[in-house]
Point group: C2
Chain length 347, copies 2
């Protein structure tokens, strides 16, 4: 199986002059040099991404891609597949963690049905574009056909193209998707599956052993799927493929991408394998408690902003980190300089 | 020198029944058990602090205590003393980091002149209650008289008493105050001064060595000041004493206290030595890059929310962490339960 898809181009922007201007601007603010720590690195990244000394964030969009997984029937999750659809309704009704966090932090929320079982009608906040009624069982064959994989990647691109603003906060929902993510992370980083496989929504010791045994079988079944898109098609899921497409499109448009936890990072590994420059647009929100996330982050050389033992998904870590990122942009915009405030410099 | 001051009482609330109710409530929310990590610990702490299953945060108040330091003349800072007054103006004009962060995150900001050199008139947002025109030079004698120390402690209490809301986000400004803080942290934790002394606003290697030499002399000068309030009076400053008083009063009233960086934590060491139960009200915002903060946090058994290499003071770390804390409260308030949302539980 080969997959014929060309990722959008991402032009790396190594602009030394702009970087120097940004550094001067940051150093002119009324604070000791470097005293805002990681927030200063965010200011610099944002300026370089937007190609300007006065970067602004506006109309930030949280997008949650949801889909079901054929592998869920193998007992790899402690929740039944129908929870995917139930949580989509919960997102829209405002009762999920991502609902609360997005309305608290001024983020628009769009949910995308990329392949959730059952029928649903488009509504404000819900895009219904299922690739299929969940992926196929990866133990029996590839989770997606090549066509489905391309369709999901393009779905992610189209969703981002249709959104306003210049920042995306990405999340996911899909019972069973820590299994797809573990398989992808293991395959794309070269780490053993056992290091990438965690308890997901809360498996006990026996459940974790069962999940790992299933994933080992799936990994062997698709031993020849080594390339990024072939691995993606082999292991799924539609939401992960859509996330990869969304990130590539966002970076192509030079939107800021806030990367959530384990599953979104697995999607980023795919995007990164196709277009390494995607990382210039990425801010890593948090280190999830799910085993394997730390490995994936290390593979990408990523330093997340938060490390709070969260492992909820939905984009909840990314939405929680949003105010930190927005703060960096607003500090750069709003702080006075030593000159303008009449504050004496260091001696 | 002995200091005659009785700290306000803080009634520890070890309510096992309430803790169990809160845990049930948290576990009923539509998320895997424990998946919100540290945010769940915050929910529990807030519920116990307020003595209710449905805690709410309202009218959160950022308060920045400012004062000058006699020791600043000894070249312990890379900025001149007049910067304290200049930054007070910058806070009020809206151009400082704390100004931007408080208006971004919906915090009211009050600046308290607890002893800044020069004259200023009370204005909206500024309380003018200087204990003196800066502390005395601690190399020559105690930074404060016993009366001044009590006056500063009481100032902190009165400021908190006069504020609405049930949460305080505490910060400070005072050129030279990492020196007072280093002396206090060393004295109250028993750690050597060299481990507690850092670059403050940005001393170079030679400056750091000079600062340490001065602090060693000050430490020896006040070798007999071992009790918390005697150490506070010996080393200063007025803003640190006011912070200690503010924290004790806030905990007495069961307000949530968001602890900023090195200097605020030094003040907390004093408060904690007087009333250990003050910790029940404290959330630790971040680990500052200033040497010694990590030691002080460890002494208190504190785990900060953020670790972003910041070392700005002003309450900037606390204000940056505020949206995380507010998020925890709003998630507990706003998330649906499995029952109410019709989401299936784990199998």
């Amino acid at each position: 199986m080969t997959i014929d898809w060309t990722a959008p181009t991402i032009v790396p922007r190594a602009d030394a002059e702009l970087a120097a201007s940004l550094a001067r601007r940051i150093d002119s603010l009324t604070k000791p040099l470097g005293a805002l720590g990681r927030l200063e690195a965010l200011m610099l990244q944002l300026g370089l991404l937007q190609g300007r000394c006065d970067p602004r964030l506006h109309h930030a969009q949280a997008v949650v891609f949801a889909a079901d997984h054929g592998l869920a029937r193998r007992g790899v999750s402690s929740y039944p597949s129908e929870v995917t659809a139930q949580m989509v309704e919960n997102f829209l009704a405002g009762g999920a963690a991502i609902s609360v966090l997005t309305r608290t932090h001024g983020l628009a929320l769009t949910v995308v049905d990329a392949g959730v079982r059952g029928e649903r009608t488009p509504r404000p906040g819900l895009i219904v574009r299922p690739v299929a009624q969940g992926t196929a069982d990866a133990l029996l064959g590839p989770a997606m056909t090549p066509d489905q994989c391309v369709q999901a990647l393009e779905l992610g691109r189209e969703v981002v193209r249709g959104l306003p603003g210049n920042a995306v906060v990405l999340g996911e929902m899909g019972i069973g998707n820590t299994s797809s993510a573990a398989l992808l992370v293991a395959r794309l980083t070269g780490q053993p599956l056992v290091s990438c496989t965690g308890r997901g929504t809360g498996l006990d010791e026996a459940g974790l052993a069962r999940k790992l045994a299933v994933l080992e079988q799936v990994g062997e079944r698709h031993a020849h799927a080594r390339a990024p898109l072939e691995s993606l098609a082999a292991f799924g899921g539609f939401e992960i493929a859509a996330l990869a497409g969304a990130m590539l499109q966002a970076a192509h448009e030079r939107r800021l991408i806030v990367v959530d936890g384990f599953i979104v990072t697995a999607a980023l590994l795919v995007a990164h394998a196709l277009r390494p420059a995607v990382l210039e647009a990425c801010v890593f929100a948090h280190c999830s408690d799910e085993a394997g996330h730390r490995l994936a982050l290390r593979h990408l050389g990523a330093e997340p902003l938060l490390d709070l033992g969260m492992r909820l998904g939905e984009g909840s870590g990314a939405a929680l980190a949003w105010p930190l990122i927005a703060s960096a942009a607003l500090l750069l915009e709003g702080m006075a300089s030593f000159d303008s405030a009449g504050v004496s410099g260091s001696t």
